[in-house]
Amino acid sequence: MEYSLKELLVKNAVKAKVQVADRNEAIDYIGNLLVKFGSITGDYILAMKNVFTKLGPYQVVVPGIVLLHAHPGNNVIKTCIGFVTLKKPIAFANSQNDPVDIVIALGARDGESHIKALAELANLLSNQQYLTKIRKTKSSKELYNLIISLIR
């Protein structure tokens, strides 16, 4: 079963213009949204943080955008995606793409069912006009509706 981005995007984990102080707070914020709505366990938040300490800040894969994720498995209750824009960009210590103002978190139960959603996400993130619209949006509800409308 392959999920689309629309299916995986957790409405209550889409937030606009959030204020966080640093990388850990950003991971906690989006992680707790996904915990609250039953998509991941608290251990997955810790696992996402450990990726940075163990492997470095490579997950800032697009200028200004981090794609957080840890190993697929039991810490993920439902395959899910959260999407948060930040009021003030913060440093993730990436050598190329800092500072970050869009934080995306992916939780996958297995290694494959999210590929379609990932392709749709890549398509969305490669469009500068879409990103400008996303960055301008101030309300969370509007941000969710905007993202859904931009999925191709």
Partner: protein, 107 residues
């Protein structure tokens, strides 16, 4: 020829890279190049069978002593950057193989 796309877990970043590279190979009608996403832990065991490794820029520290042609990508959704760097790497990898046709087994 084998291209390995690499990330920490082998299912997020590396999958995204794989999708773009497969498109690029199709555009250029390169049929004998396979793209395999993998994680850093498993990569060590696959390195000898891999010609080119493509990874996000900040994985550089993990690839310093790699025997493969190393491609580091700054913007993972910039198809132009990926296209230029990957096609260049395929050329380099072919030269390394001593001008063998793409897809021929290593002797």
């Amino acid at each position: 020829m084998r291209i390995t796309t690499l990330c920490g877990m082998g299912f997020g970043t590396s999958m995204m890279l794989m999708l773009f590279i497969e498109d690029i190979l199709k555009e250029n009608k390169m049929k004998n190049v396979e793209v395999v996403p993998t994680d850093l832990g498993s990569f060590k065991g696959q390195e000898a069978a891999t010609d080119i490794v493509v990874a996000p820029f900040d994985m550089e520290q993990h690839l310093k002593n790699s025997t493969c042609v190393v491609v580091l990508i700054r913007n993972l959704v910039d198809k132009q950057e990926i296209r230029e760097k990957v096609l260049d790497a395929i050329e380099k990898a072919e030269q390394r193989k001593g001008g063998d046709e793409i897809g021929e087994e290593k002797s």
